[in-house]
């Protein structure tokens, strides 16, 4: 309880110890150690009250209780899959949670191995040879993919093509990432939510350095002509970047099989519950670009006794060594989320992963059928196969429908004046009936 009364409860020292330390330093008071000229000193106070731990917990709980308790049929890049309890318990072990970047691999083998296993998971899922151990989220991973394209593709190229349906947060982040380069971001058309391959073909020329597609798309449709997109990219020597996630990858076409050069996306669909958008940037690529990869990489090596050991490797790509010539400015990343993702995937195993993805298809399509059966609604809007989510048309104004649903305890996306989007990913089976009932009521 040192210091609990008027200082930090997390900083020890008795008065005696403080005196001894000051004496050893050779000063009279701690104040003397602060070499801050008076003219820039801060004599005021912030006006922030200290609280006991209990009071602080009650404060935060009280504030957060203002969040409504809704069943979220929300997706569009952030999913609320149930995370098994064992993931929380193991990831919260303080050795994992309170360590930092593995600069001293000899005392970080456990975390390094877990990250190595995370990388391996992504290698299997993507079919690509190299996965880093995290970017911040899908949007920043996409931005990093563009700077990678800028480095590895013809210096004269400058166009980056993305789907016209791209989420605003991803597009805007991408534009910020390429703001320091010559690249410009352009949209290509989609056809019923999927890539309009003809329209894309018309836009493609040798000036394209990167071509980005998503599977599934933001509207939950499964992309059907990825090989064609890959071919177009290959013809023009553009980097083919595919946006997806580990659950989708467990069932959908393997990126390597459609010619993807880079895979990005949010890997925290496994490992995190809904977290107000906090994510985990998935970044995988082929061996060809190994030395241009942004972010950290864990490699296998040996220790002095010849035993297998893991270490951060190829650090000469990174900012702390290469400075302005680094492949990225990233330092602190999302390592702990990667650990959680690896754990969640391990708990599911290949059977569980495939099953989760399949249920994403069957449950979404079943819900779409039920919505379609309601008077005043039709679904899915897109004549495609869907996974996890789909767009539905409602005769009533979508905004009003969403607001009415919220009053009944359900959150849905508003896509357009008469379109809502519904996602089943995190929704318990026994919440589906009540939702359909509620929807039926509000669209009458």
């Amino acid at each position: 309880m040192h210091g609990s009364h008027s200082g930090s409860p997390y900083a020890p020292h008795t008065a005696d110890e403080r005196s001894a330390m000051l004496e050893a330093i050779g000063v009279e008071s701690v104040e003397e150690l602060f070499d801050v000229p008076p003219e820039v000193g801060f004599e005021d106070s912030y006006g922030i009250d200290a609280r006991t731990e209990r009071e602080t917990r009650r404060l935060v709980r009280s504030i957060l209780s203002r969040n409504d308790d809704l069943t979220e049929l929300l997706g569009r890049g952030h999913y609320g899959y149930y995370v098994p309890s064992v993931v929380d318990h193991l990831a919260d072990r303080s050795e994992f949670l309170t360590s930092y970047t593995q600069y001293q691999p000899e005392v970080s083998q456990g975390f390094l191995q877990a990250l190595f296993e995370y990388q391996s998971l992504l290698v299997e899922l993507t079919g690509l040879e190299v996965a880093n151990c995290s970017m911040y989220d899908a949007a920043t991973a996409l931005g990093e993919a563009a700077t990678l394209a800028d480095r590895v593709r013809d210096a004269t190229g400058h166009r980056v093509l993305v789907p016209d349906l791209l989420l605003e947060g991803r597009r805007s982040t991408l534009e910020n990432y390429v703001a320091g380069t010559d690249l410009v971001v352009e949209a290509y058309p989609t056809d019923d939510a999927n890539v309009d391959v003809g329209g894309l073909d018309e836009l493609v020329d040798d000036d394209i350095v990167m071509l980005y597609a998503e599977n599934p798309t933001v509207r939950g449709t499964i992309e059907e002509r990825l090989e064609a997109v890959g071919d177009l990219a290959e013809e023009t020597d553009a980097l083919f970047v595919l946006g997806t996630d580990p659950v989708a990858l467990s069932l959908l076409q393997r990126p390597a099989d459609v010619g993807a050069d880079v895979v990005v996306g949010d890997a925290s669909v496994l490992g995190l519950p809904t977290s107000y958008g906090m994510g985990l940037g998935l970044f995988a690529t082929s061996e060809e670009y190994l030395r241009q990869v942004p972010g950290r990489l864990v490699g296998a090596s040996e220790d002095a006794t010849g035993r297998r050991a893991y270490t951060l490797t190829l650090q000469t790509r990174e900012q702390h060594i290469r400075r302005e010539r680094a492949t990225s400015n990233i330092c602190t990343n999302q390592a702990w989320v990667a650990l959680r993702t690896a754990m969640h995937a391990a708990v599911l195993g290949p059977e569980g992963l495939v099953d989760l993805a399949k249920r994403g298809v069957t449950r979404a399509e079943r819900l779409a059928t039920r919505v379609d059966d309601l008077a005043g609604a039709s679904a899915p809007v897109h004549d495609r196969r869907h996974v996890r989510e789909f767009v539905a048309r409602v005769d009533q104004p979508a905004r009003a429908v969403a607001a009415d649903l919220e009053e009944r305890g359900f959150a849905v996306h508003v896509v357009d004046d008469h379109e809502i989007q519904l996602c089943v990913a995190g929704v318990a089976d026994d919440r589906i009936d009540p939702f359909v009932d509620a929807l039926e009521e509000v669209i009458r």
Partner: protein, 470 residues
């Protein structure tokens, strides 16, 4: 005790078979991954955790990383079911989340002396990037889009250089003066009509306060540039000084350093950015504000999201690392003014005390929250390895380069005198270790010295790569 890879325990191939709901042209053929039971996985990760040194294992004086104890209760608040919400929820339905964010914006503004704060950047380097993008937007807005140089001190964090480059700037490197601080003459020479910004951290990476910061600010501002504050060292100044008062225009905060959110083996952190009023219109979108609520009689405010007028857009797909931000909020609310000031006081006391106790040469001073010792004739990396044998985590090594064989040491406020003495004893024990011992170190760790060179020369980055090999 070797813990096998998951893939060495099991690999099960699942065929995407006939019961697939999709036509086979839309699916992969199979998926091959380990299939293990919960008890087996619990043991695997428990064992892996035991091979990791964390804050709860002992002192972790990594200079510039501010490895402080992470209060356990902040985990509880982040784990509240009510904290788990989707970012696309209506504002009305997430008033709790918005209130936490708003209050944290306010707290950080007070602590930094800044007028407006964004919480979106998911890490310090992302915060730097926001700062640089805001600077660009600001200059462009004023018709000074020609400014294409960012000045960075030689001793700065690598992220400063990399961020400036990512923002499209030429980096102008600034040498230190003999005292380890910004050389004003060199700065004068570096500044020009092309200067977009000077990026500084204060205290700097040697732990020294830039005493002439007011003059530096004036010089930069006179040249039309902006002054950027790298928040990595803010833990030295809580309750004592604020970047805004020193003349900084934009800064980031490392909540995982200053505000004790866990480092998570490399992340996630969060890098909120504060700016002076002139720069507020350029901040990323959206931010949180109190709504002009008609029902003003209510005791609770209503919060809403808004886009700054000239926003640079977003630097994250949603709104950053919420689960980290809520921990930082709880930490600040717990400590309050007195606790925050005490944290910095003891961080500075601890650094100075430790510096006084170690036998390696410690040039420069007086220090704030960290100091840089020199390993002298020894190789700093070897010293670090050998310190592992004494059961402590070593400091950051070989950086900043201004000190030869640097041992950059930041004990933080959480260490007791007894622990500092133990840490000093570890440093001092190594001073007398011979070359052979140093080169063989560590010998008491889970893994002995690891061959970094071969790891890089022959990269094996997955279990698949290991299998291919064998």
């Amino acid at each position: 005790q070797y813990e096998p890879l998951l893939s060495e325990k099991d690999l099960t191939r699942v065929e995407i078979g006939e019961d697939s709901p999709l036509p086979e042209e839309l699916t992969r053929d199979s998926l091959e991954l380990p299939s293990l039971s919960e008890p087996e996985l619990a043991r695997h990760y428990t064992r892996l955790s035991q091979m990791v040194y964390g804050i709860d294992s002992g002192p972790y004086p990594l200079g510039s990383c501010t490895m402080k104890y992470n209060p356990k209760f902040t985990e509880d608040v982040a784990a509240l079911p009510s904290a788990s919400v989707h970012p696309d929820r209506s504002e009305q339905s997430v008033q709790g989340t918005l209130e936490v964010l708003y209050r944290l914006q306010e707290y950080l503004g007070l602590i930094g002396g800044m007028d407006a704060v964004t919480l979106q950047p998911p890490a310090g380097a992302a915060g730097e990037f926001v700062g640089i993008r805001v600077a660009t937007a600001y200059h462009d807005h004023r018709g000074e889009g020609h400014r294409d140089e960012v000045i960075v001190p030689e001793s700065a964090h690598g992220t400063n250089f990399a961020t400036a480059a990512l923002g499209g700037y030429d980096v102008v490197s600034l040498p230190s003066d003999d005292g380890g601080r910004v050389d004003l003459e060199a700065l004068e020479a570096a500044l020009s009509e092309n200067t977009a910004a000077l990026m500084l951290t204060n205290p700097n990476t040697l732990g020294l306060f830039e005493r002439e910061i007011a003059e530096i600010a004036e010089m930069v501002h006179d040249a039309g540039g902006l002054l950027y504050y790298d928040g990595a060292n803010l833990n030295a100044l809580l309750g004592r000084a604020r970047p805004g008062d020193m003349g900084f225009d934009v800064m980031h905060y490392n909540v995982h350093k200053t505000f004790a959110t866990p480092h998570g083996g490399g992340g996630p952190g969060a890098g909120p950015v504060g700016v002076v009023a002139d720069l507020a219109p350029f901040l990323p979108a959206p931010r949180v504000r109190e709504a002009d609520d008609a029902s003003a009689s209510e005791s609770e405010s209503t919060y809403e999201l808004f886009d700054p007028d000239h926003t640079i857009g977003t630097v994250h797909g949603f709104q950053g690392n919420w689960l980290v931000l809520v921990k930082a909020f709880a930490y600040i609310a717990r400590l309050g003014d007195a606790g925050l000031a005490d944290a910095s006081a003891k961080a500075v006391l601890n650094a100075n005390y430790l510096a006084s106790q170690i036998e390696y040469d410690v040039p420069y001073g007086p220090f704030h929250h960290e100091f840089v010792a020199s390993a002298g004739e020894q190789d700093a990396a070897d010293v670090a390895k050998r310190m592992l044998d004494y059961g402590v985590h070593p400091p950051t090594t070989k950086w900043p380069e201004i000190v030869p064989e640097a041992l950059m040491t930041e004990p933080t406020e959480v260490e007791s005198k007894a622990t500092l003495d133990r840490l000093a004893a570890a440093f001092n024990a190594v001073t007398t270790d011979g070359d052979a011992t140093l080169e063989d170190a560590p010998e008491r760790t889970t893994a002995r010295r690891i061959d970094q060179t071969s790891a890089a020369r022959n990269p094996r980055l997955s279990w698949q790569a290991l299998e291919d090999e064998s």
